[in-house]
Symmetry: C2
């Protein structure tokens, strides 16, 4: 019987408890031990707790920390503190830790994995990226023979749901966001999702593992989807593409490039058909080529699947060799100005002869080749112009934009979105 303590009884905590109860017979057959939830840490409140759990509930972390029967501590409270402090204490006390906390792992994974190594305990965090989708262990073990040079994924279900609604149901951003909130797919304060911060944390974790170099969320160039309009979705469609919030990590000649941005993806790209709240992660290695992992990236039971599987792994592998921090390289993380990609640009200009050539001229002067330029609807003398560039250094693109912005014929530079591959 493996006794565990759980920190937090929110959505993921409740799912974890339910899944252990439901599948404990299967768990016992698979790891030769049942899992016994001995204690659950919750905040003191008037909240009604399920009767079956009442004598497991505690309001004191030390009550769990000091319990010598408890060998695995499961952190599913979320947020940076006090989760970080609790995990640190648990590891230092020689307890195995399973966590779903992307914020703690993306910012403090290196410190925590070092403590885990000193204490020879497991620190597992499969649930921190991609919910129930197996990705951390496959990266660290199944693909370990590869030099991995790219990870690319749809890592946030909320934004993918919103973009899917904008594409398939012809909704504008605000409307799709409200609907996502009503459906429970977006929080009342959706900032972390919408602005790309959630995906940036997950990308920092994936990139650190894939490229064996430490990447923290602050180093990830991050743009949200709140500037994407329904017009962009329609023009993307005309260009044979869809707009997705994509997290991209690339390794190249001793440097790493990490970004979370809206991206125009050709419709035949494997990530283009990942819709709704589904997530997917593509990994490219020198031997394996491209592999993709797909599934539900959030939610009570999918996340509990990863948490409970990690608990089983921690119990099974308590005496085995463990994998700790794998960031043995120190690669430079490029600044956005040093990165290269194609761009889609939508702008509004006074509909007069010579405007298009002036815009094209500004790109030409900055060594930017254009793959497509077309003029759309003219309303009240203002024309909408769409430009697609070939690959271009981000700083050249910004310089061209600044020049174009000075032209008096330009009414507005509405959207600039990266393009992955060639349209």
């Amino acid at each position: 019987m493996a006794q565990i303590g759980i920190l937090g009884l929110g959505t993921v905590g409740t799912g974890t408890v339910e899944l252990i109860e439901k599948n404990n017979d299967i768990i016992e057959k698979r790891i030769k031990e049942r899992i016994d939830i001995k204690k659950i840490l919750v905040r003191q409140s008037n909240k009604e707790r399920p009767i079956a759990l009442k004598d497991k509930i505690t309001y004191s972390f030390d009550d769990i920390l000091d319990d010598e029967d408890i060998s695995v501590i499961v952190e599913v409270m979320g947020g940076e503190e006090p989760a970080l402090t609790y995990i640190r204490k648990a590891l230092n006390k020689g307890k195995h830790v399973v966590t779903a906390n992307k914020e703690v792992i993306s910012k403090h994974g290196n410190e925590l994995l070092k403590i885990a190594a000193e204490k020879n305990v497991n620190l597992l965090f499969e649930a921190s990226v991609g919910g129930g989708i197996p990705i951390i262990m496959p990266l660290k073990q199944c693909l370990a023979a590869n030099d991995i040079f790219k990870v690319m994924g749809i890592l946030n279900g909320t934004t993918n749901y919103i973009l899917t609604q904008m594409t398939e149901q012809n909704k504008d951003f605000d409307e799709a966001l409200k609907e996502a909130q009503a459906a429970g797919y977006a929080e009342s304060d959706p900032t972390n999702d919408i602005k790309g911060f959630d995906a940036a944390r997950k990308l920092a974790i994936l990139s650190s593992i894939a490229f064996n170099t430490r990447v923290i969320p602050e180093q990830v160039y991050t743009e949200g989807i709140d500037t994407v309009t329904h017009s962009d979705v329609i023009y993307a469609d005309e260009l044979g593409a869809v707009i997705k919030l994509v997290a991209i990590g690339k390794k190249n000649e001793g440097s790493v490039e990490v970004a979370v941005t809206p991206v125009l993806l050709k419709k035949d790209h494997p990530l283009a058909s990942v819709s709704g709240t589904f997530n997917a992660i593509m990994v490219e290695g020198d031997a394996v080529g491209p592999v993709m992992f797909y599934g539900l990236g959030a939610g009570k039971m999918p996340t509990a699947s990863a948490v409970v599987s990690d608990i089983m792994e921690a119990v099974r592998n308590k005496n085995g060799n463990k994998i700790y921090c794998t960031c043995y390289d120190s690669l430079k993380v490029l600044t956005p100005g040093e990165t290269v990609s194609g761009f889609y640009l939508r702008l509004k200009a006074v509909d007069k002869p010579g405007v298009l050539s002036k815009i094209a001229g500004a790109f030409g002067e900055n060594q930017i080749s254009l793959s497509k330029v077309f003029q759309k609807n003219t309303i009240n003398g203002t024309a909408e112009i769409v430009v697609v560039t070939y690959s271009v250094p981000f700083k050249n693109f910004q310089k061209a934009l600044a020049e174009i912005n000075k032209y008096e014929q330009i009414v507005e530079i509405a959207t600039a979105i990266r393009v992955e591959g060639e349209l």
Copy 2:
């Protein structure tokens, strides 16, 4: 330094050697040991071997078996014998074994895993299913908290390439097969691929692990793609579907159903867009929901990716708790007659009034509801008729077919293909 012996220097063996040489620095960082290929077993022949390998080559298996420096034996020769005997001897001698051999594992995995358990050594076979795609370890570990009730995959790249060519390039089966042979995607004797035997072995391995009950290839109902014609591909397209060779394993109320057959899949099914030589495996668990794994299911370097990653795992985990045979249940494997699915049927009949109603009548008498019936081209008085049924027990469908076949107006029952889901 972990010293290994490799059995076989064909495509996968050569890839394994090349990958270890290329990435040994990365391997050393990741598992704290370099891999040293000490000996390679090849058949005595006049074949020219690379000079760099000359002093590693041996013609005697015992030379590797009795070498006390060698702790891991890598079997990449393929075929049932002598591979089975060699693996058995290696395990009994206390050596870790890594193999890519689907035939040996699907037929003898239980016996070999028992020996491995007795000797406390690793027996790893990630490369036996899906080439470089991580699937065995994800099933055994990352998804271990789930009650898994379905695995469904495109497990054979050769047949998927042929069906893709038939669909996208408007080719007939024979033409597409010849082209696949010319491109090196099909062997000169393509029987194992075309008839579904290769996929059946892989499904037996996946189902045994997913459902924790032993399934051997002989229990897999297996149909090949050689009866699929270009007409079927076109009619499937009109029905909003594609034809794929799909391996399906389902668990239901104490029994298991396993089949490899051509299947009509709706175009929005995640497996429908898996084209060319790519493979993909969907797994459905009670907590995680659907997850999919996608990548190159064969080929020199993708397969080497899985083999070398397994070697690294065997070295890393030599002293840890290992996962052996997980078939602790003994579920009944249903016979084809006990299974239920929808069917697509194409037949040729004399174009006379009353034929359609007679056909519909035969289905009705066998409690089979039809979702679609339509008549296609009539040539020289013979009409092509396409029927799509709702879900129906296979034995009822066969009974109806036998009755229809007796009608003198029926010229030919051309094709019967399973339908997954509703069209």
